[in-house]
Symmetry: C2
Subunit: 759 residues, 2 copies
Amino acid sequence: MEIQKIIKENQLGLLFQQGSFGLEKESQRVHADGSVVTTAHPKVFGNRSYHPYIQTDFAESQLELITPPNNKIEDTFRWLSAIHEVVQRSLPEDEYVFPFSMPAGLPPEDKIKVAQLDDPEDVAYREYLVKVYGKNKQMVSGIHYNFQLAPALVDSLFKLQTQYENPVDFQNDLYLKMAKNFLRYQWILVYLLAATPTVEANYFQHGTPLAQGQYVRSLRSSQYGYVNDPEIKVSFDSVQQYVETLEYWVATGKLIAEKEFYSNVRLRGAKKARDLLKNGIRYLEFRLFDLNPFEIYGMSLSDAKFIHYFALLMIWMDEIADQEDVELGKQRLARVAFEHPLAQTEFRIEGEQVLTVMLSMLDDIDAPQEITDIVLQKLAQFDDPSLTIGGRLLVALSAHGGYQQFGAQLAQQYKASACERFYALSAFDNMELSTQALLFDLIQRGLNVEILDENDQFLAVKFKDHLEYVKNGNMTAKDSYISPLIMENKVVTKKVLQKAGFNVPQSVEFTSLEEAVANYPLFEKRAVVIKPKSTNYGLGITIFQQGVQDRADFAKAVEIAFREDKEIMVEDYLVGTEYRFFVLGEQTLAVLLRVPANVIGDGVHSVAELVALKNDHPLRGDGSRTPLKKIALGDIEQLQLKEQGLSVDSVPAQGQLVQLRANSNISTGGDSIDMTDEMHESYKALAVGITKAMGAAVCGVDLIIPDLKAPAQASLSSWGVIEANFNPMMMMHIFPYAGKSRRLTQNVIDMLFPELSLA
Amino acid sequence: MEIQKIIKENQLGLLFQQGSFGLEKESQRVHADGSVVTTAHPKVFGNRSYHPYIQTDFAESQLELITPPNNKIEDTFRWLSAIHEVVQRSLPEDEYVFPFSMPAGLPPEDKIKVAQLDDPEDVAYREYLVKVYGKNKQMVSGIHYNFQLAPALVDSLFKLQTQYENPVDFQNDLYLKMAKNFLRYQWILVYLLAATPTVEANYFQHGTPLAQGQYVRSLRSSQYGYVNDPEIKVSFDSVQQYVETLEYWVATGKLIAEKEFYSNVRLRGAKKARDLLKNGIRYLEFRLFDLNPFEIYGMSLSDAKFIHYFALLMIWMDEIADQEDVELGKQRLARVAFEHPLAQTEFRIEGEQVLTVMLSMLDDIDAPQEITDIVLQKLAQFDDPSLTIGGRLLVALSAHGGYQQFGAQLAQQYKASACERFYALSAFDNMELSTQALLFDLIQRGLNVEILDENDQFLAVKFKDHLEYVKNGNMTAKDSYISPLIMENKVVTKKVLQKAGFNVPQSVEFTSLEEAVANYPLFEKRAVVIKPKSTNYGLGITIFQQGVQDRADFAKAVEIAFREDKEIMVEDYLVGTEYRFFVLGEQTLAVLLRVPANVIGDGVHSVAELVALKNDHPLRGDGSRTPLKKIALGDIEQLQLKEQGLSVDSVPAQGQLVQLRANSNISTGGDSIDMTDEMHESYKALAVGITKAMGAAVCGVDLIIPDLKAPAQASLSSWGVIEANFNPMMMMHIFPYAGKSRRLTQNVIDMLFPELSLA
């Protein structure tokens, strides 16, 4: 198996560096003081029988966050970040995520609840573990790292080698080589990355093995961690032998199931080991990583990259560890795990040698300089153990008052950080906020999401065999093709709505004064606005709010409009306030009032100061990265002030409303105010009817209503529809400036997957 | 009822001129010689129990074309034109539409079949008519003109008058005034517009009343036409009296039903006369117009306008005809109808007086000059009867060999003219050809169509209570919103299709030569094209049709591509021919091959001459008004010729293919060739599968296939999908250059209205 030679001779270096990456991160839910909670797994995370991202491991308190596999480790971290933010923001206010692998403040064993899963077998398995290992040992957390080589690489290597005739055999031996060499040299990763130097005494069933003041590199990787009886040895010499020895231990009852085999490397690709014979090994799972408490997600991206290239090194090297080497590796692991974090390791020379080979591999495969730099840093840590995570942790623990206290402090800090921009998903902040909100909810509820195109906000969402696509947050297959086309065309919209019997303001255009005046009877007693067709600065506009009562007045208004343009419009004038109704299916889910940018005086601050204060609101920002926008103080705002006899330096009286804009757009600093509960039901029903007339499943209906408390009447003086919008905005309803938040993205999910409420 | 005064004082002139217009045109289907056919009403016109546009009147041979009502008489004529073209093009090749009201070449009475309608009552009514009037009299055709005043006018007039308290009473009396005055002065319209000077002798049951060589103005409006027994008098004094007298005649059995009352004016607005008491008269139907044989649609637009203003005059004038006046009017009508067409009418003075009043009304209501001109022309016809339609007809009859012969000649001429641009609807030629084709089919099959927006190709189609919208010929509610969004995004399309297991050419982009070469194993043995990302004039492109066999060749190609751009692509190369599959639902309805613009030599003509000959094809034109485009001989074509060593003056050998374009677009003169029957079924099934993966109901799938006769295999060498298009073009399939036409618009209708096949 001359992997190195084949790669070098065939310039497969870049392909060699490709792969697929997945992470599984466990951690305990804890109280503010860092002690483990005894509450149930939060219901908001949906059903663990299918949740792809948020699971529980052994205990009900033990979260397990699972990323989907990605071809770039960076993307895997983006997913981990997103899942992490979903979890942090969904936890009860007084619960946190513990940043250490070893638990602190463990409750009495009888208070630790094993994970309450639907499958009785899963629960029975956990009960068995309790008997054999006790509960505390099961409370240890870590990160599992899944890695698959690029299938194209394996294909190419197979074609270029001469030893194997069967591609599955070849692939199996390639992964077995990686697994065995990894087990041989795993101690290096523990030396560099371990972070479980201590644990509280009550963790141990039979008293702590640690002397007073003794710290080690990794309790978790030691015999006191989550490991099998040393008697249990499983062969990695071939898949056949692996299957047979594993099955042997299960048959003898030393293991209750194959999954009780807690190897630091697992062969993946089949539910049952025996199926590996047919399917072949598809990827490896590395399980020895302690949570890195200095990292919000429990592992740094550069360490993840280091692990990737370390795994590559395991097949790059010419040697293949045999069963004896594997046992040697395990012994070295145990010894290194029990070394003092600030002591040099006894295997320093081997460690430095392996990393030196790694550097030359990086050179041969033309790896990015970034990786070489990472390896050089790691290499230096053999000389100076205080640079290792464990070394740094030891220093930090004494500086921050001990294990539990430091953990609690970090837990609170990480939660605050994850909640800071609570309306966004940091890792997907290049996408629209509404798509981020949807993504948040999909992750929370446990639907499989694939981002088909980030720039285009295109998601594929799957639940079991049911596949749906979503673009821009609410464009889905539930809407028909024709409805947005109707809504896009204002003429057609008006015709359709009018035919369906809704109150639509009509407009008539005229090209001559005589013609317009002759049509006076059409408008008599109707509230109309008369305006030049192309309005400039509101010139030439006359509004008859109470209805035109007099032909002469009408003629005068027409004449004024014609001074500005060769064509004029007479349009129904709707008296009232504009509200946006967000309709989904049979229901108006939200009603919003948009108020033009404004501040309210306090008799103390100037307009400029009031604006600055208002702009401090956490929802306000610049650009599209916040739900609300900061109020600018540009020309338009200053003109608006001037019309009110004010300037930016004026100090408005207590309670005085100062308008800074005439338009009510959120994008120019307007306020969004939820009015759903205030609005009379009759208007909500009308909005649903309008949505149906448009043939739409999701629609943003703009109604003008003079009195939102009075029931709707059949005349334009009671209400009128001015627009129906497809793909209506959701963020302004989800994060309004005032009033109740309406989490519309959840409704979109319910619409797409009605079966979820039954699942 | 001081209508004139109110209109003048309140400047309602323009509103007075508004209204709604509908036409119903009867005519006989005839043989080439003008004789009435005895064939059944063509099945292609669908079911007469609901057809809104194409019906039969009395006889199976007697077509009745019905326009929807329109607010502009011009639009009513567009509809009449469209329905007329549909009828003409749908008739059997040897059948025509007779342009005269009086039939010619009548078959023996026992061969005349009454209209075969579904409702037995309708058939029974016709059988009764046969008994009372004989069949021949029922074979007379005419045009009925429906006119409604603008409801806003009636509202305004009601509000401004003081006599009536109830708006329905007022509206009824307004229409009754129009009806009575019309009956009083109807003879004027007969004088000006009549066109039934004679008929063949066997038309009359008891011998012709016409002396040898006697011609009259209107046999149809005379006692020998389609009129009731003179004894039957119905009062127009009030709606109440109208209802009572009409019901009296039915009760006495003198009329078998209310509809047997053949008044030249009918009060409309209710199915049964009695309901008029409740509903009020909504519009009037004027029934006295002979077909004008000089007009392809049986009436000229200017005559239609004249009739409109004539009807207005009937309410403008202060006098209101009483029952005696109505009888006087009927008598005058009978006398005028029997005058010689070239003789001055005995009532000339009254006619001129009425039209003079009309001119002053036009002035008062500020009517367009066009109308005044029309009335002046009509006025002149009192002095010179040879200018009337009847006068002109008499001259033409003798010039063209008589009534039947001239009719046959016009019938053929009009049919030829209606079929000339058989792929378009003349009156809607501003719309896309595909929408015109759909409109054609909708009219033919009898669905209610409303054009919501002509520029936007937006139709509303209704069958009973089932409403559908169609944009651009095939964008409908049957497609989901998300499918065009998927198809619009090529990246997402590829991902979706690849996941669904279809052969999709993959492309990989590289920014460095080393990276590209390192990835060689990804492409080894695959047919690929290597090209700069932004291709200019095809520079830097290398194609490995047989698969890359050698790393050095690959590296060389990459290097060539990098000479042209900083980024290159390696893309799967698909060997084969591109075909467009038009899929609708579960079926590939059409497969098309598009061939670049070309001519084939004949050893005689030059390239320029061959192009000119090919461009003569009836389907070829410029712009978007023809299904195929003329081949240009511009720079690109001349360059293409040069590459073949030819110029426009070269004379290619017999059978020599001369390419004039590299691209196969129809828009640059390409040929469209239907290959539906030639294509192996397996590819059609694939196209359906691809359409389903897109979630689409209608899709244009572009496949590359090397051998259309060989069954599809699972590899890119057998076939590959390169594009899936929403709103796929239909015209190229409906009117291909070669091969069978596929009338896809019919399939669109079947998709939208599956119940139609059951109706």
